[in-house]
Amino acid sequence: MSGDHNILEKGFKNVPANGRATGFQLAVKTGYYRGVYANLIEGFEVTVDGTTFQRNQIRLTIGGHTYALDKLADLKHVRWQWLEPAILTVHTPGGLTPGLHDVRVTELLRISYMPVQPSVYSFRRRLTLVK
């Protein structure tokens, strides 16, 4: 599904808020029809204006806690609730230039009953980075 609504306008920003940016953040809602235990998240891919970031540049915040993508598989009881926007923090010195950006996010989940692994949800949205 094109799933533009899965990438939120709110939450697209450089971090930290003050001082020199070390990266940027964006909020995503799942493309799946139910919430999952966080260890079922195989990963996220983020591409902005054609630049694809590396897995180890990305961290995920759910329920107020932040995890490296490779650490998700070790979790057991953390829920990514269905309606909860997860925050992706992408480490890239200087962050993004304020302005319009073509943002693509791919969500990868390990869904047991599907014939092919992983399940892939792709989103794309043009977002405005204010600061």
Partner: protein
Amino acid sequence: MARKKPSTSKRVKAALSHRSRSRRLSAARSATKLGVTLYSYGGDLHQGFMSLEDCIADVADMGGVGIEILGESHVPDYPNPSARWVKQWFGWMEKYHTKPSAYDLFVDTMFYKKRLLTVDEAVEYLLLDFKLAHRLGFKVLRQQWAPYPADNPADQMWAPYVKSTPAMEVIEKALPYAERYDLKMAVELHSPTQLQSPWMDSCLEFIAKTKTKHFGFTPDMSIFTRRPPRHREAQLFRAGARPEIISYIRKAYQNHLGPEKTVAEVTRMKGNAQELRWASIAGVYHFSDNDPKDLLPLLPYSYHIHGKLWEMTDDLREYSIAYEEVVPVLKEGGFQGYISSEYEGSRVPGDASEQIRRHQLMLRRLLGVRNGR
């Protein structure tokens, strides 16, 4: 390539026939009930266009009574909603004159990356859902047949809807808990389920052996799909799939090639990402090829039905599923539970309600139901 279709064994049929007869006798007195699974409102809920209460109100507005939910989608703070929310849930049921029809749960056997859940671990997770379902007043579970490897590797094409010893063990070990919480584990028969199969035989044998009233089925009408939904093919074309490849995939599945061989062939044809993904999952839509009459032996143990719909045409027919062939079988078999409309089409907010209304009207006409109760 002809497929061998084993028939339900005579021994199993004999063991169950007494129950079929008494069910049919009581059919004359009972009416199938109507409801909707809130899964249908996925787009509206996820994008904040409708609240859970709005969905319940919508179902009531169209004369539906049964409300079906997915714990992991619709219950805030799953699996432990607040007492306040639970009270509100019952308040909605009263306000809209609706009833909890079925609670949907899953068995995520691939919980860990490196190994499958053991049967005991799977039952532990099921128990969380049993408790929550019971807390919310549900009596019927639309339960997933646990995705463990098939006993017979040749069955893998129909996975996870296959005979599987670990999956059966999950049912056996969960049974005492289902009894304790007064729940019926109604395992979903979703496409590509084969109604005449070793899997169904093993389930009926289990029911005959235990005489349990806490394990049975939720037939999903997708098992009677004749052709893929139009919106899915339209989506594929928009995303860059080529008509000739999509057409090949449709023929491959109609010739029972199965997902692996179809994917291999489309790879050879240099299919793109959209085409490859469709090659792997298209079978879910039109691979079952079941005869509606094959539902009859299962109806005495069917506690819920998923009325699948993708597209209701202007003349109130489902584009992919011949309901006019299936509903008479439900009536003949004396099905007493809810038919729960499960809209799986557009997720654009606003689209679901209209399609579900058409579906509910079609069901009323086919069933001869007056008020859905």
